[in-house]
Amino acid sequence: MTEFMATSAYAGVTISLVSYGLGAWLKKKFGFGFFNPLLISIIFTIIFLCTCGINYETYNEGAKYLSWLLTPSTVCLAIPLYEEFELLKKNAKAVILGITAGVLTSLATVFVLAKLMGLSHENYVTLLPKSITTAIGMGVSEELGGYVTITVAVIVITGVIGNILGEFICKIFRIHEPISKGLALGTAAHAIGTAKAMEIGEIEGAMSSLSIAVAGILTVVFATVFAGLI
């Protein structure tokens, strides 16, 4: 049995999807931000693979087909952006300048802290795309020579913390405008933050979802510049 498991291409992927479903169910039942289906699935799958002695390469034989869908799906992020385009145009200045400020702050914060703590170039570029959506962040990290798997983990954890603390952070910085709350959540915590923004309100949700694509694209542009600094 163990021998079979160690070579199965489907076992790992099945566990990944089952634990994702479990996470979604927990999230629905308890409504607590930590029960992020993606986070739960990653943790469960790692525990499962380690327990059964399945190595990552074997798991990835099946799981790579999930990753394969990522590029076409990222391309589709243009669809909600197109649908929210009127909203963007109406608030163009606040949206563009707000998100640009956020993206530059994200890159600058990572740069300053990485410099202070003496991180290597590889670790630094791994963290540069940490605030943006996983699909784009993975690409940025890979292009710049970072550790993609760590980038993914950091992005997911950023999203989960942003989802949990988002409202509290808005409160301490006195961010009260619905548009600004949405932009802040989407720029700092991508899709997982957007889930929270949608809970707060419709404007917050729409603003947050358009921030995902805009912040992603701006990060692609500016990260290249910042990457050369360490």
């Binding site: 990944s16 994702y20 289906p37 993606l38 699935s41 990653i42 790692i46 380690c50 990753s67 869908l69 990522l70 590029t71 990222t74 391309v75 589709c76 992020l77 669809i79 197109y82 200045k93 949206v95 300048l97 707000g98 998100i99 400020a101 956020g102 702050t105 994200s106 914060t109 802290l113 703590m117 991180l119 670790n123 963290l127 940490k130 996983t134 993975m138 690409g139 940025v140 890979e142 292009e143 993609v148 798997t149 993914v152 950091v154 950023t158 913390i161 952070i169 961010i175 405008e177 600004s180 709350k181 932009l183 959540l185 720029t187 700092a188 915590a189 899709a191 992603g216 694209i217 692609v220």
Partner: protein
């Protein structure tokens, strides 16, 4: 059939992104070129929303599942992460605060300035 056709269009745009990535010497992922093309095609009417909507929405909805393999990859890069776990955690948390403050306050300032002008 409709879904398959929509998926075909999405794949074709992805392919276009891949070609750009191969031709242009910029550190930009193929998916970003594709996303920009998709946006321009929708905006200019070369593609109608109906031609990509359902499959596109479906792909976006199930997108988190596609990150599982990369996340699980953490088990093989744990050795790299372990020595820098503390700085990485510190940076992860602090950045959330600075980014939210910058985005929120800058956009809020602009919105309120606009309101004052109107008033």
């Amino acid at each position: 059939m409709k879904y398959l056709k929509q998926f075909l269009i999405i794949l074709a745009v992805s392919l276009l992104g891949e070609i750009c990535k191969a031709v242009l010497p910029l550190p930009i992922p193929a998916s970003i070129y594709g996303m920009v093309f998709m946006f321009i095609f929708l905006l200019t009417g070369i593609l109608k929303l109906d031609q990509v909507k359902e499959s596109g929405k479906f792909l976006i909805e199930i997108m988190p599942v596609m990150f599982i393999p990369a996340g699980v990859g953490l088990m093989s890069s744990w050795n790299v992460l372990k020595p820098v776990l503390v700085p990485v955690s510190v940076i992860t948390v602090i950045t959330i605060f600075t980014v939210m403050a910058a985005t929120g306050l800058v956009s809020q300032g602009i919105i309120r300035m606009g309101k004052k002008e109107e008033a």
